[in-house]
Symmetry: C2
Subunit: 337 residues, 2 copies
DNA sequence: ATTCGGTATCGAAGCGCTTCGACAACCTAT
DNA sequence: ATAGGTTGTCGAAGCGCTTCGATACCGAAT
């Protein structure tokens, strides 16, 4: 293994000079710099991460804490994770992957050991048990998701309240009076996951304002659960002409069931999905949808965290404005006959 | 931040004693151990990761390299990643997430910097460009997937050849003579991804042995691509009575299309999927399937890597035997009329 | 009583890097 | 010519930990 000292010797300078070439923290003459850089290349030198971390007390690692929940839509998580990892690299950071398994203690462990310089938490609950620990250690952090109390925290999320409102608006504008919402799995609400509740909040208040009826039902993923849920909804509100789905793994089952029952989309039933664009465009009907901007969320999270680590950047809540893309699954409400 | 020295002082012992209590590398009297452990707890001591890595030249970190490909079925990747992270923790390792973005150089960077003690590579191609680098650095590693040349490498994978064979066997046993295979996206084959080719190999050789006709068509995910592919298949081989799908995002579209065309599953058409169990059980028909054991793969990979890091463990190729679960999407071939 | 093998502990060296203060060497303004 | 300010480089002191002798003590065997 090549060390700084060997590079220094090879280039005929002192170790500190090499270090300064690497970090750029002091001015170095062009000739020296070139000699050093040449030696680095020739010897194939890579700074030792541990030594660096010890000496500088910065690890250049960001911890990303992903929960293990199986009732969450996984691809979005994955996309965020990849975006975080990729974006972090462009800022010179690597990403450490923590699963929920270890529980809140992971926060303490990582903060205490100096393993990571900061952390990003995903799938934050309204009253997340990791937050007290996070506030206790003054570990720089960014949440993806919104807890109930955001004081002293930096959070990045899609504006789910506005998302809900947007969906209702779109349907109401087309004359739909009876709207059903097929939500996330019941477990998601029981856990008080912020995004689910905020969406619901947006849906409800906007529909109240616009004077349309709204029926919300949680629903597990998969075909069977969807069949039961849909039957209940149509039984309770036969006049339903618009459906908003927030559970991605319920999208295709829903479309299949509607087709099977002879309800045409969008002629008999309009469908709006809250899901990644890929799902919306690959479904059996091109779905009008509000996209979940996973990449953007990951990128924002990293950038805010890096800003904090560099001393810039203050606590703030960043809500990404939702965008509704009209595709072919929504249309005017059928005239009441 | 609490240091080893502070703990030592608090417990009235030397720093090295505390270190030995922590590592267990030398015998320590019960009384001393307890005193030290108490101090550790009272002071809330966490060993500093960087210092540890520097002194011991082991980081207790495993790098996990996930490619960025969007044409791959992401949930499986995610599941493996989570399994790796979780399993690694039980062995005292953390996981560093590397994306394909950085390219093969990531191998050099991580190996050179001592950031990780070993690495796990996912989505290995037959002739993967990371392998030469991997062999050059003698970084301990485990591949998930099988390259063309496995000498000197440890690999973990589902036995896709056997998987293909198993699918054909199951259908042939039920009297199906004309079988269609809906494969992964064309890009996957162009890239010479091991698992896709090996599956195909198993499918072909077994169908030759059993004397059944086999038609293979790659297919992108989504409804539209599936519609085109299915139409072509049925056009070319109208007698097709069994379908094997290897692209998870094609599963639900396929079922929707069959339903739409009035082909009952399994009466008119048997369908076997190669996919995670969750997909098979949540689809609109309970699919007979060969599961992709993501968890098991992740676990195996970690365990082999840890074995290598501890000096046990030699190079070997671990193929996990496929298991076919019969559900309700397959039945006897319709009698030829 | 003396020696021997264990067991339990300590001190010190050093892992590879960053960073601070010191110091030449040089340039400018007086 | 001299003081003052830059600029570029070096040496040395750690960062917090592991690990290798060395040492001191104990009971068992001679």
């Amino acid at each position: 293994m090549v060390t700084l000292a060997e590079v220094a010797q090879h280039a005929g300078v002192s170790a500190s000079t090499v270090s300064y070439v690497l970090s750029g923290k002091r001015s170095i003459s062009a000739t020296t710099r070139q000699r050093v850089e040449r030696s680095i290349r020739e010897l194939g030198y890579h700074p030792n991460a541990g030594a660096r971390a010890l000496a500088s007390s910065r690890s250049n690692i960001i911890a990303l804490m992903i929960p293990l929940r199986t009732d969450m839509y996984v691809p979005v998580m994955m996309e965020i994770a990849i975006a975080v990892a990729t974006c972090a690299r462009t800022h010179g950071y690597d990403v450490l992957l923590l699963t929920g398994e270890e529980g809140p203690d992971a926060v303490r462990r990582v903060a205490g050991s100096g393993l990571a310089d900061g952390m990003i938490l995903m799938d934050v609950e309204l009253d997340d048990e990791r937050l007290p620990l996070l506030r206790a250690t003054d570990q720089p952090s960014v949440l993806i998701g919104l807890p109930a109390d955001t004081t002293g925290l930096t959070c990045v999320d899609l504006d789910f309240r506005a998302t809900g409102a947007l969906c209702v608006e779109h349907l109401a504008k087309q004359g739909h009076q009876d709207i059903a919402v097929i939500g996330e799995a019941p477990a998601v609400y029981e856990r008080h996951t912020g995004f689910a509740e905020r969406t619901l909040d947006g849906l409800r208040s906007r529909s109240r304002e616009l004077g349309v009826r709204l029926l919300h039902r949680p629903c597990d993923g998969g075909y069977d659960a969807m069949a039961v849920t849909l039957a209940r909804i149509l039984d309770e509100r036969p006049g339903t002409s618009g459906i908003i789905v927030q559970n991605e793994s319920a999208v295709e089952p829903l479309l299949a069931l509607l087709r099977q029952q002879g309800r045409a989309v969008p002629e008999d039933m309009s469908v709006v999905a809250i899901c990644p664009d890929q799902v919306a465009t690959q479904a059996s009907v091109r779905l009008t949808s509000v996209a979940i901007p996973a990449q953007e969320m990951g990128r924002h999270a990293v950038e805010h965290l890096v800003a904090k680590l560099e001393g810039r950047g203050r606590d703030e809540v960043v809500l990404i404005a939702p965008e509704l893309t009209v595709r072919t699954s929504t249309g005017p409400a059928p005239s009441r006959s």
